[in-house]
């Protein structure tokens, strides 16, 4: 019993010493913005940099919440959605696209007034969307077994005829601006990353060797590196986009649904639903290390790195008497 007592006193002393010497976390919680009246899961984000607005899909609430990040409050709520997933704001055309899982439709809104302009049908489960500035194209991941990536011309808001087939529902994907490829996570097709040649539509499958449930993805085009996050086991897998070879894999936050690459700091933020954000440092394209697992809260699995504002936002679902929130983290150097 005495030995235990001594152990306690000694370890509490070292704790004190350690705390004062500890470096600050790479993400500092700055603000908690309430999102009142929203129940259920929050899904993905998008942003309108010019108006300093952040959009978050309230999947369980069938709304898209519009947040003025400068004022720190919700300024609008777009209603009448059907399990909204990935939203996408396209500044060049001042339009907001929202993919709805339940009714299979992508709704197009005016970027200034948020009035509905058009509804496009994608059959089943339109999910993530990306915009390619060079070709001025909106890409939509959709479908189940017959899934693929379809395209919308934002000028006319018509679907272009072509669909890149992915042999399963595509989860997160990234579009290369310079290299002409689309990289997609397709856990249904045997837990692979698919590299799709945009010209020919040819698909190369990159296996994830023993890992499953690859949902989130980020791209560093400059370094030719793709970051895909698996849930089983929770890992960040770094792939070389030129060869498809695995560069490295590191333990990451579990239950991840979003990952972002911070090009300024060369860091990767992995948002994990188990209650931490894993922050990795890229020492060079081949070497990575975990900087910290920043504590967030259980159930926070989606976020957004707003590079222009140097802020990292995460969606916090409602719990008990606490309303849903969006937390703002400041990215530290």
């Amino acid at each position: 019993m005495l030995a235990v007592g001594m152990l306690v006193s000694r370890s509490s002393k070292t704790v004190v010493a350690q705390t004062s010497a500890r470096e600050i976390l790479p993400l500092q919680l700055e603000e908690q913005i309430p999102v009142p009246g929203v129940a259920g899961r929050l899904d993905h984000f998008t942003a309108d940099a010019k108006r300093r607005r952040l959009f978050v899909s309230a999947l369980g609430n069938n709304t898209l919440e519009v947040i003025d990040v400068f004022a720190g409050r919700v300024v609008h709520s777009i209603k009448g959605l059907a399990q909204p997933q990935g939203p996408l704001y396209v500044s060049g055309f001042d339009k907001l696209y929202v993919a709805n899982a339940e009714d299979g439709k992508v709704r197009v809104y005016d970027g200034a007034t948020y009035t509905l302009r058009k509804t496009l049908d994608f059959g089943k489960d339109p999910d993530n969307m990306r915009y390619d500035e060079a070709s001025k194209t909106v890409f939509v991941g959709f479908g189940e077994e017959d899934g693929g990536i379809a395209m919308i011309d934002p000028k006319t808001d018509e679907r272009t005829g072509k669909v890149y087939k992915t042999e399963g529902h595509p989860e997160s994907f990234q579009v290369e601006a310079s290299g002409g490829h689309i990289f997609a996570n397709v856990p249904d097709a045997g837990n692979v990353v698919e590299s799709i040649d945009r010209k020919s539509g040819a698909v190369t499958k990159w296996p994830l060797k023993g890992l499953r449930g690859n949902y989130a993805m980020a791209l560093s085009e400059e370094d030719h590196r793709l970051f895909t996050i698996t849930r089983k086991t929770p890992m960040m897998v770094v792939l070389d986009t030129q060869t498809g070879n695995e560069v490295t894999r590191l333990r990451a936050a579990g239950e991840c649904d979003d990952v972002f690459f911070d090009a300024t700091r060369k860091r990767i933020y992995v948002v994990g639903g188990e209650g931490v954000i894993s922050v990795f440092q890229q020492d060079d394209p081949d070497h990575y290390q975990l900087v910290a697992n920043v504590p967030s809260s259980v159930g926070i699995r989606t976020g957004y790195f707003f590079a222009r504002r140097d802020r990292f936002y995460v969606g916090v679902p409602a719990k008990g008497n606490e309303p849903a929130q969006v937390w703002t983290f400041e990215a530290e150097d």
């Binding site: 999947l59 369980g60 333990r251 239950e255 975990l290 910290a292 159930g299």
Partner: protein, 360 residues
């Protein structure tokens, strides 16, 4: 005997809490002696090594009192709010309570039939309620003398098996045709109140816990014969899970708190391991060969099957006081592998259904 047992348990509790404190301290000590980068790496590894990770929570507002059992169907989790006289319908994808079925006095077991598109809810007050799976309107109800408790759906025969009755005369496993809502002649009097029971898919047997008789009854649905396995030194056998491939039956014992493992081919007790106190649900994860035992004391005990004859405690996951019932339905759509735990309201905090993600 009981006093001896209590004393033993008290000593056991002291020892186990002492080892826990020791483990915590050594963990603390090791983390303080290392610098930040490896420490962070270590904690990342630790986070992911837990076999169940808390990854979400769905508030179930306004629900008072105890929760009872769970069912799953078409992306929805159904949970009986026994003390609240409701059944809560939860959309897993949306993370919300989608609907609340009211007017069910003390609901206990729930079963979902994808074939009949119906939800069956057993009430302790003596009825089986049948609901449409879309509108959740009541279709009909069937009387069961002495109360209805656990229910299981048998997809092969499209029948709902109902554990009913509360004494030696009424205690039985009865059946209802899921398609026609008619109570059938197939009924097995078992001589006591049935608790959890499991249906064999590859054989004719039904295994039933009968704590009143300190027995497990094995009903052969073909020959109608009932074999009985007496329990010695183990009382209050409530929850149950079946591993058909390995011929093993897992039974949650409350006095003393044990996980008992039986060989279904012989009825022999294979193992009895110290387990969660106050348990009311128990699940077998065939993919990882693990047994999950949630206990009202605020822990989920997780056991690893090394082989069908050998088991070890893998982890104790702290939960919340009263978290004694849970739902586990294997892998669902989009590859999600989750464990749902009901946590009753306490103080100012609303009731919730916690979502744990199964790890490798």
């Amino acid at each position: 005997m009981k006093r001896f047992l209590t004393a033993f348990l008290a000593i056991f509790a002291v020892i186990s809490s002492a080892t826990l404190v020791g483990a915590q301290q050594s963990a603390e000590k090791s983390s303080t002696t290392k610098k930040s980068a490896p420490e962070a790496k270590e904690s990342a590894a630790k986070i992911s090594q837990r076999p169940l990770v808390l990854s979400g929570s769905i508030p179930v507002e306004g629900v008072k009192g105890r929760f009872d059992h769970f069912a799953y169907g078409q992306g929805r989790v159904f949970v009986s709010a026994l003390g609240n006289n409701t059944v809560e319908v939860i959309s897993v994808f949306g993370g919300i309570v989608e609907h609340t079925i009211t007017g069910v006095p003390n609901p206990q077991g729930v079963a979902f039939s994808p074939d009949a598109h119906k939800l069956f809810v057993a009430s302790a007050k003596g009825k089986l309620y049948i609901y449409d799976d879309d509108s959740f309107n009541l279709i009909t109800s069937i009387d069961f003398a002495g109360g209805a408790d656990n229910v299981r759906y048998d997809a092969a025969t499209k029948r709902v098996y109902v554990g009913c009755g509360d004494d030696d005369k009424t205690g039985a496993i009865a059946t209802v045709d899921a398609m026609t809502n008619q109570r059938l002649d197939e009924e097995y009097k078992i001589g006591g109140e049935p608790e959890s029971f499991q249906l064999e898919n590859s054989g004719p047997n039904i295994y039933v816990n009968i704590p009143d008789l300190k027995q497990i009854a094995v009903i052969n649905r073909q020959t109608k014969e009932i074999t009985r396995w007496p329990l010695t030194g183990l009382r209050m056998n409530f929850p149950m899970a079946l591993d058909e491939a390995d011929h093993r039956l897992f039974v949650g014992i409350r006095e003393p708190a044990r996980l008992a493992v039986f060989d279904t081919t012989s009825g022999h007790l294979i193992a009895a391991l110290p387990s969660a106190e106050d348990t009311d649900d128990l699940y077998y994860d065939a993919e990882h060969k693990r047994v999950y035992v949630p206990g009202g004391e605020g822990l989920i005990y997780i056991f690893q099957m090394n082989d069908p004859d050998h088991y070890r405690l893998l982890a104790k996951i702290p939960t919340a006081l009263g978290g004694r019932t849970a739902g586990y339905f294997g892998r669902q759509g989009k590859g999600m592998h989750r464990f749902f735990l009901a946590v009753p309201s306490r103080g100012g905090q609303s009731a919730e259904v916690r979502i744990y993600t199964v790890q490798e």
